[in-house]
Amino acid sequence: MQPTEFNQSDKGERELGIELHQRLLAADPLASSDIADAYLTPVMNALKLKYPFTDPTLLSDSATEAYFNYVDRPSSFDPAGRSLLGYLKMSAEGDLKNALAKLKLEAARLVSLDTVVELSDSYRNNPIEEEFIGRQAATEKILAWRAQQAADMELAADTPLDQQLLELLLVGERRTQAYARLLQIEDLSPAEQRQIVKRHKDRLRVRLKRRQAQHS
């Protein structure tokens, strides 16, 4: 029995989960494949339902990470507790929350940089400018850092297209459509778009990290 949707009772799903878990522990070479077949889609669907506006690439990454974590350490699942589906959903949601928190932090950092820059601009030629000397010094440091980021970005980008993609990445843009538009692949299916966009994002992230590592 290899269901893709669990229309049966919870009991049926629980029994299937226990059976697959035992087969995985018993080193059955087919167990990991059967678990992927039976559970990846329901986990992904559960994430889609709960996070309808989140980038599907993030959702699928979280679902696959939960699967790999479980297959790597099956003992982390206790069949006496929740069902395997419940366990995988919880694990995937944990991964997703971590990924979202990371993105949020990154976005907040960029917003706070913009705020500091705007503040320093608005107090220029102002009688109380003196009070902001310290703040301006900080701003200069930040601007220098941003200039370095921009330089890194320019060096990491081989083409004007890469440059535009990097700009989107650095402002924390998560929507696949935004990248798909630049890549002119909007006529492809959403899944193909996600795949291509992810490949570009990964490539550029690696390149940017390499550039930044050369400075650190």
Partner: protein, 129 residues
């Protein structure tokens, strides 16, 4: 595209993504299949043809655990189970895995042995212009 077709495609995409990620994890058969493809310069269609499978079957095949080669009995058992499920000729899969294992052993060998093996290779003369 009907709802059912759409759902089947999403599932196939997800399994394909997972199999591609599994190619970096030695636990999975996907990792051995990836090495074999590199050695034989095969794409996924070529690999499917080699194993006499439909390309769509490669994802679930790749997500199987790589057969345990620590003992001949365990290796035979794993090969039999996988081949029965996917309808692959056992000898074909066993050959593929032996080829990959030989390559991995060579990669893991100390550099001096690698040099020795390189020196022992037949010298191929350049073809005459």
């Amino acid at each position: 595209m009907s709802h059912q077709e759409d759902s089947d495609k999403s599932k196939a995409d997800l399994l394909n993504l997972t199999r591609r990620k599994a190619a970096n994890r030695p636990f999975f058969l996907a990792a051995a299949l990836e090495i074999f493809c590199q050695l034989e310069q095969l794409d996924q269609a070529g690999l499917a043809a080699y194993l006499k499978l439909e390309p769509g079957q490669l994802d679930l095949l790749g997500l199987c655990r790589r057969p345990d080669s620590t003992t001949p009995a365990a290796f035979q058992r794993d090969i039999r189970l996988i081949c029965e499920r996917f309808g692959i000729a056992p000898l074909q899969l066993a050959r593929l895995l032996r080829r990959v294992a030989a390559y991995e052993a060579l990669q893991a060998a100390p550099p001096t042995l690698n040099n020795f093996l390189m020196a022992a290779r037949d010298y191929e003369e350049e073809p005459d212009e």
